[in-house]
Amino acid sequence: DAMVIQNPRYQVTQFGKPVTLSCSQTLNHNVMYWYQQKSSQAPKLLFHYYDKDFNNEADTPDNFQSRRPNTSFCFLDIRSPGLGDAAMYLCATSRDNRGNEKLFFGSGTQLSVL
């Protein structure tokens, strides 16, 4: 029944070691989002894809990259994780991005940086 699936559920990486988080969706939605959520804070949008068009938020560090090889999959790459990048990473989808579209979230990947 899961519609937005994130793997792994928990990820541990070392300081500076590249890490990739995965997201897949069965909703056939056009838009896929990556959010960062730190403890007790609101989710913060990093970037999103509308189909193959990548939209980066102005304050997203260059350390964060994303790939969307097809409609169903989207990846978050953190090139050189720092201690401050430890957070929950949430993937979400929406049917479109023209407004009034609710987002469907995955369960998240909790990233720890040692």
Binding site: V4, S40, N97, R98, N100, K102, F104, G108
Partner: protein, 112 residues
């Protein structure tokens, strides 16, 4: 810029009582509003939404009220249950292709 905030960071209610969670927003151009529930260690789960051309919308045990005059949004949960314990986020979106902006969240604790 747009900001979305909540009046109370924590709310404790007795099981069976009604809960009211409030949210203020600053962008008068906001025209879509959503409430999400997030349980510990999980992603946000959609509860209910409302568009700016409405001032009230009801779901199962939940009601969202929108007051555009004072830019205020509230979520009412009837007969609160232990399973309602979670952090609740309001989120708002402007017209067109603008991102959803989340508020800070209110933690609801239900006392059995």
């Amino acid at each position: 810029g747009e900001s979305v905030g909540l009046h109370l960071p924590t709310l404790s209610v007795q099981e069976g009582d009604n809960s009211i969670i409030n949210c203020a927003y600053s962008n008068s151009a906001s025209d879509y509003f959503i409430w999400y529930k997030q349980e510990s260690g999980k992603g946000p789960q959609f509860i209910i939404d409302i568009r700016s051309n409405m001032d009230k919308r009801q779901g199962q045990r939940v009601t969202v009220l929108l007051n555009k005059t004072v830019k205020h949004l509230s979520l009412q949960i009837a007969a609160t249950q232990p399973g309602d314990s979670a952090v609740y986020f309001c989120a708002t979106q402007g017209a067109g292709n603008t991102p959803l902006v989340f508020g800070k969240g209110t933690r609801l604790s239900v006392i059995a």
